[in-house]
Subunit: 468 residues, 2 copies
């Protein structure tokens, strides 16, 4: 398929330059040699740099250090980290430990963002001892196949970046680089894939190596909206981290692009930031009640913390709803220092009265206890019988959503994320209301919250806006 | 069983006097003779007066005029009403037509409240042509059996009156006189029945004539909480009009009475009335928002109108809840002039913003239409995709519950009671808010609404209050 002018112009912008290419390759080779020098084990470059499928300007180099499978996990971690530190020192870089299944080093070396990851040197995925052992196989699989499709991969990656659906971290829940490469490979090109994607349905199956006899079997095994069987491991869905929302957004982006292509689909929206005055004016206009719970960010990666923040938010939402506070919208944000759980409520203050449901009349013992407790109350009505149960009116425990969120023992009784709970227990948390919800740290997040639109819509709006 | 002092004192109060007895009997005989005279058909006294089971001071005489089964329904109605009017004229009484399955006359004659009801003179319930044909059989069945149990029946009736659960009309949903008689007959006395009732469960079966082999069959046929097979018609549950609430209330009254008897259980609460100032103070204390819909009362009996008011209330409740207005409590009242549907809301005003749910993204045509419609909106956020569906924020249609209830075409689009709808369509309706909800006509109803307590509880409270 010939490239459109739009796509050719995108490629002119995102194809790595020759200088970039050789610099990255050279850096990779030096790192591999250094690993051998300090640890006596082979290493390989993985990821997009290794496969020549990176977007111009990306400076990510992934080096996997291949340790013999005989050593223990402890030894692997210990030797791996030691080797990584030695490599970083050798190049006078700076490093930070990160935690996935086991610790690895994220370093800045000569301007490159380098991950130094220890793994086992196994001869097939069947012998894998941990998840990272799989990564080298991805490069081994793709390298001989992706040569002619590099430009197509770059177009898809840039399209996904432009549409805000690139990245398989939990914050994004979008398309990983490996997934983009497999999809281009499966459909034979960028345009071919885009046409197919614009007609996708939930439960779409892509099985390049035809491991399964039919799609029914695959759908019985995997439940995600997009199922791309890993050619290096038939029991794994490469698109497992893709959320239903991102999947649907991508389909709409693809549909819009196919119907009316524009270079703007390949341009990522710059994030916008909201000042305190603008925040206050927005609250005024919306007429809702804003509340937020702010806590220190637990010292773990986003893939660990963000799902925990979501779980915590769901628990708080359920408590608010159970106490009659109706939620308009809610969202979480993980910042470097603090994390925020944001609630936008229809109403944050309720009358003092509430109906309390008592035991069924058939339960004589509890019925008597309930009646005894509320029999002589003067304040409100009740007790009364309705159908087969006692009820009474009592004073509402939480007349404001703020007082509920501030009740630490109540909040901590919920089903919270482990590390989030730990931080809330040990360091406490703040409940912010109204304009106090705003802070510089969350000014981007709050702006995105109020502007909430799918990327597909934002693209359309930019394009329409540009036409008018 | 010997009578307790409490029960004996009640009987001293409620047993009809000899003078009452002979006056009622005499009046009945005169009416029967008059029916024969004006219409040439036999008649019989039914109901409690005929069976000697009425409470002192009751002045209700039911006369059933027995027309030959050969005549048509039209003829029965025509001749029946003509005969009734002739009888009333003969005694210089006053009369009002009422409507059950067919019209009958409710008259005041020499101080008695007389119902003159035409029915077919059939020889068994199998030959019944309309529901009222059954009534004479009740008297024929009970008369020979109830003789020794008259005092017990009176005690039960007075107990039910005291507890607010006497009367099978739709407003009360309680125990009819016939039901009280059958229950006393089935259990062999007042005390015996009270003991049994205090241990009742949902789906209790009383089958005096043992028409059914076991209670399972009965429960398969009837679903009401209390099932009393009519000895004159095995396909009828005499307790069909008893609501679950009244059933449960009676059980609790019986249980309380058996545990600690008091004469107060046999004394009906005088209804209390609430003045406008008290109403305003109550609203203030409760902090809720009161709204009411007031319309003319349709010209039908309570058994027709009250269920229609309830149906209308349910329709309005569903609309309010669908528009995010949370209801604390709601109730209806049928007055002589006007009827009222009362809503007590947690909040009656909401912010202008609301999330509108759009089509699934898979429905390309509707998705495009939705996006097109909301794409360039400035006011709020959206559209966005969540899971597989489009959403957007829009202006709320009803920011106050009052504006929703005032939207006549919206309200009339609901599932309303037939005659209530007719009145609302033709004569309109008013929406009242806050202190304007109060009017003299509903001052008793509003008092009961706010004092809401089961009769069982009120009795207990009176008794406790008296002890303190």
């Amino acid at each position: 398929m010939t490239r459109s002018i739009i796509e050719q112009e995108v490629l002119d912008r995102v194809l790595p330059t020759d200088a970039e290419r050789s610099a990255a390759q050279e850096m990779g080779n030096k790192l591999i040699a250094a690993v051998y020098e300090v640890a006596g084990v082979p290493a390989m470059m993985t990821g997009s740099v290794a496969r020549g499928t990176w977007v111009r300007g990306d400076k990510d180099i992934d080096i996997f250090m291949l340790f013999p499978p005989e050593i223990s996990r402890e030894e692997l971690q210990e030797k791996g980290l030691a080797a990584a530190y030695a490599v970083v020192e050798k190049f006078s870089g700076t490093a930070e430990e990160k935690y996935a299944e086991h610790p690895y080093l994220n370093a800045v070396i000569e301007g490159f963002d380098v991950d130094l990851v220890p793994c086992y040197h196994v001869s097939s995925t069947a012998e894998m001892q941990c998840a990272v052992d799989r990564t080298p196989f991805h490069t081994r699989y793709l390298l001989p196949k992706i040569g002619n499709l590099r430009e197509d991969v770059l177009l898809l990656k840039q399209f996904a970046k432009g549409g805000g659906v690139y990245g398989s971290d939990h914050m994004t829940g979008g398309f990983s680089g490996y997934l983009c490469e497999l999809l281009v490979l499966a459909y034979g090109g960028f345009s071919e894939f885009m046409q197919a994607a614009s007609e996708f349905r939930y439960g779409e199956v892509v099985d390049i190596e035809k491991y399964y006899a039919d799609t029914k079997i695959v759908r019985g095994k995997f439940s995600e909206p997009l199922i791309v069987i890993d050619p290096t491991d038939k029991d794994r869905n490469v698109a497992a981290a893709l959320t239903p929302t991102r999947f649907a957004e991508f389909m709409e982006l693809a549909r819009d692009y196919c119907a009316s292509p524009s270079p703007q689909y390949f341009v990522a929206d710059p994030p916008t930031q909201m000042g305190m005055n603008e925040f206050a004016a927005t609250l005024q206009k919306r007429g809702t009640a804003m509340l937020a719970v702010r806590m220190k960010t637990p010292p773990y990666v986003a893939d660990t913390v963000v799902p925990q923040l979501r779980k915590t938010m769901e628990s708080m939402k359920a408590m608010l709803v159970a106490e009659d506070f109706q939620i308009h919208r809610a969202e979480v944000s993980m910042g470097a220092e603090n994390s925020l759980i944001l609630f936008e409520l229809l109403i944050a203050r309720l009358p003092e009265i509430v109906v309390r449901s008592g035991p069924p009349v058939w339960n004589h013992e509890n019925a008597d206890r309930f009646v005894e407790k509320y029999l002589m109350q003067e304040q409100f009505a009740g007790p009364w019988i309705e159908e087969d149960r006692y009820y009474t009116e009592v004073l509402r425990k939480y007349t404001t959503a703020e007082s509920l969120l501030s009740d630490k023992s109540k909040i901590l009784s919920g089903s919270l994320g482990k590390h989030v709970r730990q931080v809330m227990e040990e360091d406490g948390y703040e409940v912010l209301a109204g304009v106090d919800v705003w802070s510089l740290e969350f000014s981007f997040f709050l702006s995105a919250f109020f502007a909430r639109s799918s990327h597909a819509i934002r693209k359309l709006r930019e394009i329409r806006g540009g036409q008018e």
